[in-house]
Symmetry: none
Amino acid sequence: MPKVTTREKASRTQLALRQALLELLEEKPFEQIKVKELTTRAGVGYATFFRRYSDKDHLLSDLATNEIDKLLTMTLPLLYTVDTLASTQALCAYVWEHRRVWKVLLNGGAAASLKEAYLHRALALAREQPSPKAWLPEELAVTFAVTAIIEMQAWWLKQPDPLPVKEMAVITNRLAVLPIYPASDEQDATH
Amino acid sequence: MPKVTTREKASRTQLALRQALLELLEEKPFEQIKVKELTTRAGVGYATFFRRYSDKDHLLSDLATNEIDKLLTMTLPLLYTVDTLASTQALCAYVWEHRRVWKVLLNGGAAASLKEAYLHRALALAREQPSPKAWLPEELAVTFAVTAIIEMQAWWLKQPDPLPVKEMAVITNRLAVLPIYPASDEQDATH
Amino acid sequence: MPKVTTREKASRTQLALRQALLELLEEKPFEQIKVKELTTRAGVGYATFFRRYSDKDHLLSDLATNEIDKLLTMTLPLLYTVDTLASTQALCAYVWEHRRVWKVLLNGGAAASLKEAYLHRALALAREQPSPKAWLPEELAVTFAVTAIIEMQAWWLKQPDPLPVKEMAVITNRLAVLPIYPASDEQDATH
Amino acid sequence: MPKVTTREKASRTQLALRQALLELLEEKPFEQIKVKELTTRAGVGYATFFRRYSDKDHLLSDLATNEIDKLLTMTLPLLYTVDTLASTQALCAYVWEHRRVWKVLLNGGAAASLKEAYLHRALALAREQPSPKAWLPEELAVTFAVTAIIEMQAWWLKQPDPLPVKEMAVITNRLAVLPIYPASDEQDATH
DNA sequence: CTCTAATCGAGACGGTACGTCGCGTCTTACG
DNA sequence: CGTAAGACGCGACGTACCGTCTCGATTAGAG
């Protein structure tokens, strides 16, 4: 009998809470989810929740932060790469692969705060690694591209009969990525 | 000498509450605003709040719905019009003119729910008046264009030194409107 | 056509409110009766109530004070008279005659405050016109006799098949009045 | 080392609330006591009050019921016993011993409802164990004796310089107990 | 017969206390 | 030791009723 039962239990608690949150987010907005519900659903004591997380929001962060960062490292390069379509396809493929969780994150009861966190994080990363697009403010470009991509992914996963990954990638690339690059025949964009 | 003092008072209450909400939204997120604060700031009795609105959210709707619909009737035609740039300029000019209130609505504490309401309303209107863009699902097009426009307007108003209306219109048009039209090799999108 | 229509109306309001209170006191305790109910039942405007009475309690006083004083002037002489039985009979006869209102006052929702007011008033009157009974403190004698009489009257009127006036008078006299007089063969009452 | 700290705390809360009520009843009528005052005085959270009692009235019952029943079991035997004076003395001695709490209960802000509860309870007990006094209805006899005793005890405890227990017992016996027995010319009631 | 003043019904309002709800802390008992 | 269970302090909520107020319609009795 292993000695890590304690650690195991701790992890189990954490997992159970995350899972419970994901399930409840499919049913109702985040703010309406009560701690009692979370712990009951997770089969965990009420007070135990606060030993892991100081807050309901902390649990959400814990759930979302990792996923967001993973996805972000696939989103941002789009703005600096040459072969944008390939990157967009990689992004869409990744989301599709993890659609179970991303569907909830983007369309469940925490969508709003998650999108905000996403954009916030993206802007922070972009500031570290600027890539002036000349014809429009860097921050505006990032805001546009990131939010457009998120919203489109949200729409995509919400569909009862989603488009194929490849087609989604083409559309995303054309709508949200290419427009921020200077026009191929461009000299004066303000004209 | 006006005869409508009672009605006037009723309206005054409503106006005062709206105004108080706008002011408080500049200071903190919507959920953290307490009814007591609203009524105190509005110089109105606590119970009176619930005589007008069943909810804090109702007040927000009341505040936002009108503004949203006014703006939406300027946003949607973008998708069906010939001279998109002119329409975009009209849109930006309108927002600029009402930037006091829109700055709060788009960047204040109610931004998330407001953006959601906005998109929701836009999709409803679009469904009533479809305009198939053939190469991509109508709903996706609307989602993309509307959210992109909203986010860009939010960014714009948030700037300490905002771009001129005209320049903002050009960028918005190029990023969020033109891309949903058939591609340049099908028909010239930059025109 | 009389000139007192205004006064008449005022009286009508007052009567209607008293009547409404009496009716409602048959149904529920005084504290649970809302001003709105009173005015509705009386067919009178809400604000009109406060034009007549500053308070719900004022209405109750207005209703009770007269009746109490009328009854009291028949109760107190019992303590000073020779032929107590005759007085007790007069008292019982009076109560029986006005049993409609006294039933409500003594058993309805205002019974408690009414009994208290009654005793209070009786003690005040007794203090003005002392009649030392030697063998026990005057105030105690009054308290005993008055509350005993009130409670017995209350019981009497509450009965579905009340005792005859005469019998009630005999019992009341024997239980509540005679005992406070010195015993006929009395020298030392503490023995 | 006690193991019942949780239970202890629960009891402590209950005790503190009862004590707070008793104190406040010395200052003002029951209806004017606000729950907030009770909890503050008891050093207890506002909501905690409603975890114990659904109502302010429930607290009062909880406080009074025990005491009432203890006293009642000493009051009723008076009606069935041979040596009434001894019983009356026992009753008065008990009340005197607990005069701190009974002074508040009988003369404080809850006197009215307490007296009513007392009589109510007494009638219920009497119905279980009838003792026909022939010459007058049982219920009337109980109503008379019980209310007379209560009111006299209330008066007694209210005095700045109360009569001795023994004297009070003699008076109570003569005024409220003996009169319900058959008259002296049927059988000697003073014996 | 009209016009001004008083009165009424209706009901909105500021205010106060209520009883409920959920959070996050804490204490106990168990494995 | 860490956990399930759940009581507690706290504080916002939305409700209910009070007593005040203003309104517009209905008369009153003076001009």
